[in-house]
Point group: C2
Chain length 321, copies 2
């Protein structure tokens, strides 16, 4: 069994070796640029990890892992256009560097590149692999659509929010693991269970992100603590708070939405504290972790084959950034 950092290294080594056509240069340069911006390579590593866990050959799962990473980076290019984001991993975004039209088109051709990588999978597995990949890709697009729509809606419910993060973030975690399982010839039942593990872990991961944004240690968080508060982002925390506020406190929160000063993060955090929103969010997060580990428990393989996945899940859930 490989540990996660070995798998991440395999991905990290493979990415600069992906061959793209030389021309048109401006179509393919942005792909190399974003693919080599770094990141933890967690999603593709999960493909390899699942293959390894079900006694498959890691090498055989590599094309699907690269397809997942390529797809993920394609969504980043298009999301950054939609969000008008100037920076990605501290570097200029593709649309800022090459222009929006070029960024749309480089993203489009990345989707094709992802499908080309996927088409390298064994013929006998191809249909199942495609079905999983397409369902995943579709979910991610739906999640992004909902995320955009939520920005201008003021009646987003908590189940809607959970469904949005499930689609936008968690489906890809589940899909990556399931792809690895399929390539390792895991049973349909095991493939479904590892997907269930991944999807629930992904939801827990995003809820933890929402918590860290407010309660992260500024020295370790890496981003500005309170970023979601500053942008009035409808996170699990904010939606939960809004459900619980007294009318008087609702007034305080409404004022904060317009607050442009430094006091905003502190004031909203105070409301979170007052209504014990952190505890509520942590409880919600734990409930998805329980679901994830229940699914994993049902996978009937020797415990040592699950060790790396459990180690990774624990590492992710104890992160501080």
């Amino acid at each position: 069994m490989h540990n996660i950092s070995e798998l991440q290294k395999i991905i990290e080594t493979a990415i600069p070796n992906i061959a793209y056509p030389a021309h048109p240069k401006n179509l393919y340069e942005p792909i190399k640029y974003i693919m080599n911006l770094g990141g933890k390579r967690l999603r593709p590593a999960l493909v390899l990890l699942a293959a390894d866990m079900f006694n498959g050959e890691v090498e055989k799962a590599l094309p699907a892992a690269l397809a997942i990473e390529t797809f993920h980076n394609f969504t980043l290019i298009h999301d950054d256009i939609m969000d008008n984001a100037p920076l990605r991993r501290g570097q200029t975004t593709v649309h800022e560097k090459w222009g929006t039209n070029n960024a749309i088109l480089s993203g489009d051709v990345m989707m094709v590149e992802a499908n080309k990588q996927l088409a390298q999978v064994d013929s006998a597995l191809l249909k199942e692999v495609l079905n999983t990949f397409n369902a995943t890709a579709q979910g991610v697009c739906e999640g992004q659509q909902l995320d955009m729509e939520f920005e201008t809606r003021d009646d987003v419910s908590i189940p809607e929010y959970i469904d949005m993060i499930r689609l936008k973030t968690a489906v890809l975690v589940g899909g990556a693991l399931k792809l690895g399982a399929i390539i390792a010839h895991a049973s349909t039942e095991h493939a479904a269970l590892i997907y269930e593990f991944g999807e629930n872990l992904g939801i827990a991961f995003q809820l933890q992100d929402d918590i860290l944004d407010v309660y992260g240690d500024p020295a370790k968080f890496g981003k500005q603590v309170g970023g979601d508060i500053i942008s009035n982002k409808k996170t699990f925390l904010l939606l939960s708070l809004q459900q619980r506020l007294t009318t008087a406190d609702q007034g305080i929160l409404d004022e904060q939405f317009l607050n442009q000063t430094d006091s905003k993060v502190k004031n909203v955090t105070n409301l979170y504290n007052q209504y014990q929103i952190r505890e509520l969010a942590t409880e919600e997060m734990q409930s998805y972790l329980v679901k994830a580990f229940n699914a994993l428990k049902q996978i009937n393989i020797p415990a040592e084959q699950k060790e790396q996945l459990i180690a990774l899940a624990n590492e992710l859930m104890n992160r501080e950034s």
Copy 2:
């Protein structure tokens, strides 16, 4: 054997029956909207026609045909964003109706829908089908990139232009025919030849488009005659003219680039006439038709099986709009 209008009818009937998810509504409504805007359905009909020609079942080729039509309409949504186009087939474009971000994302998910349709193909043929589809999709993206880049370049050569229209337009014609051939279990050689036929026909078709834009009968053309001239589009005609102009006439053309009056179309057409550019373009178009029909001749099947394709090619090349 089915004739082309029967095949177009099969497509026309199938399109409104494609099932998309109901939610998020704004993600899928634009897909239904553009897929139902009409058009001649030539590309998907070519998939069916090739399958029929090689004695395959038309029904079995339908998913690939719908994938081709879905992909084509996805490129229309994204191209219209890039071109800032207000209208498509006389109706409001998707990005005008739903906003640019929504249009980007609906386009993205259409690419997934195309891949889902493709994944319905027989498992045994899937790898070859995917490879053909992916190569086609990649070519179309490359062609669009070159087309955009040519707008701001003043040193576009004729071979570069031909390569651009090959990628942007012709590769999809060849790819559609090849998909049909593969699904009908045609030999690799026959699949390559039908591709070659289609690619060359596609180049001839686009050259004819360039000619019709200037020399079309205003009563029959459907669009404004001279549209390419008005927008200074670098067509085969313009590039050929620029190669041949005397220095004095170059000055006349340069003036026309800035001419905003109605006289522009007439003045540039006069230059085309003076340098016999129509004849030159017709000759070039004919040379690609010859290549196309040479490829078709090498396909070793009974002549009557080729009849529908030949009828279609003749119809296309004798069109007036």
